[in-house]
Symmetry: C2
Subunit: 320 residues, 2 copies
DNA sequence: TTGAAAGCGCTAACAG
DNA sequence: CTGTTAGCGCTTTCAA
């Protein structure tokens, strides 16, 4: 009994080579497979990580999930996946289920960071928040402000003067930062007038609706900065429906850098989030023996493609 | 001890109302949370389902994953997710991990159905194969042949005569059925010449490469049937790069019906897979007390949008 | 170096 | 109706 445990786990007591071989042979012969449940019961760790995203069918979260699963696998962990559907109640219920399953840690894009953190703290479960996070918990975010500035500046550099924005939901931490970045870039460049702005959810439909609204005005914007790739996809459709050609009559820049942005026609100039890096960091934070609280704000890069009009003459942006 | 178990689980022995209240109060006070691991150890069931897909970042699988997680949650189950990366070895290793975690059942899109089935059979684990499946295991598929026929017929109905196809990988069960459907529709309608065909992976790049190839010939096809939405997205890009307008100069129909097909510009006419139904069926099969082997072949529907040229004059298809 | 035994938190049979 | 007890399959002391 015990000896089998020693050879399967390579410890903690030494085993004579002969015995080891006999055990291995027996394992082979009987098709014995260690029971992870029993192991978890005694050992304390389930070797399982939880991942809660609003919606796995959203390209960005899907890519994130892939990266997290990959990193978790490399660390010998399995991942439990759940969709909060953007709803705080659902998210908390999911967390409760995960806690009952005794996950070792959770990566969460939270709608209710404070409450979630309290729950996890009480359960003594490790966690990493992506995006919105309570101040004292580990979190990984990106430079939303800087990314928005870079994208907007790029648009300005093209010589567009009326640069509108399709923002995210109101009072959303991430959405606000992107909006501020856009705003900042415009005002610091001494834009004559304020750019048009609409709040929309981070969805294709949101981008479509917001796009139609922005394109309907009599002084139509020359460029639109969308707060997410999904919205940009919807905006592309809105422009097509209105018979407005992108980028010739309307330039677009966006935020996320999901694969969909590369596949769109025209391909989207976008602020690229370092998804793999985020996932690797998150998993390391949850699995490392010694992990001091983490408050990462990762750099983003601007990926220049066609939607901004980069096939057209280029003007250097004025200095910030 | 036991009484607590009785009230938490509502059985199997009755508990006096007073005691019940006291137990409930104690639970509330202590913040007691039942340990699922210990439960699983004694009870036998982990209330966990596994899901193995080639790549969660593929829209179709992401939508499937969402539907599976949703159905599983409704049935009180949690889902363990993993990407096989389209590799049989990885898939089997993943399965091994899942088996050690003692999942109650698995939904799998398999690269090695026979081996996987043997493994699962030996472990006594319930499973449902989606797509390729061993003959005696439960499986859920769609009418790939019929769907391809419908899509192709629709293209024929538009009056196109040179209808090419971007197929899936060679020797792939699903891909072959779609190819056969396309072929069947063409020949049974007495097409003068054979349609051009290229094998490509079910990816955006596959569709792009295949599209360029098909569009390069001197007798360019009037319409192309892509074996998957992802390929169609790539094809759309290829057409754009070649300056060919869709649907005016090239009509497109495709297979899957993922959300991306609706968001594309132009929107894609596609064979819609009943994702929710597939997921519900799969989860029921894995959780139902009494589940006789299932060999479902679900009906698909043709969703007509813009890429086929349906804004243009319409010709009734000749009879099949 | 190996074997025996305790116990992880729970459920279910078995007494009371 | 409630309390006691025997495991579920494993890891890890503790003895031999």
């Amino acid at each position: 009994m015990a000896v089998v445990s020693y050879v399967v786990n390579g410890g903690p007591r030494p085993v004579a080579e002969g015995t080891r071989q006999r055990v291995l042979a027996a394992i082979e012969q009987t098709g014995y497979r260690p029971d992870g449940v029993a192991r978890a019961l005694v050992g304390g760790s389930t070797m399982t990580l939880g991942l809660i995203v609003p919606d796995i069918a959203n390209e960005f979260f899907a890519e994130l999930a892939r990266a997290v699963e990959h990193a978790a696998r490399a660390a010998g962990r399995t991942v439990l996946l759940a969709n909060s559907e953007g709803d705080a109640q659902t998210e908390l219920a999911l967390l409760e289920t995960f806690l009952e399953r005794r996950i070792d840690g959770v990566v969460i894009i939270s709608q209710a960071p404070i409450t979630a953190a309290r729950m996890l703290e009480r359960a003594g479960t490790r966690r990493v928040f992506l995006g919105a996070a309570p101040p004292d918990d580990s979190s990984i975010g990106v430079d939303n402000f800087g990314g928005a500035v870079a994208a907007t500046m790029h648009l300005v550099g093209h010589g567009y003067e009326r640069i509108a924005m399709i923002g995210g939901p109101d009072l959303d931490e991430v959405a606000d930062a992107r909006r501020d970045g856009w705003q900042h870039a415009l005002t610091s460049l001494g834009a004559a007038e304020e750019g048009a702005f609409v709040h929309q959810p981070f969805t294709v439909d949101g981008g479509y609706v917001g796009g139609l609204e922005l394109l309907a005005g009599d002084t139509r914007p020359q460029a639109i900065f969308a707060a997410s790739d999904r919205q940009a996809i919807g905006l592309l459709r809105a422009a097509a429906d209105e018979g407005i050609s992108v980028p010739d009559e309307l330039a677009i820049a966006t935020f996320d850098g999901s694969a969909a942005s590369a596949y769109a026609v025209p391909s989207l100039t976008t602020v690229q989030q370092p998804i793999t890096q985020m996932a690797d960091l998150a998993v390391r934070q949850l699995t490392a023996h010694d992990a001091p609280p983490l408050h990462a704000v990762l750099e983003v890069g601007l990926v220049i493609r066609r939607s901004c009009g980069c096939s057209r003459p280029w003007l250097e942006p004025r200095r910030l």
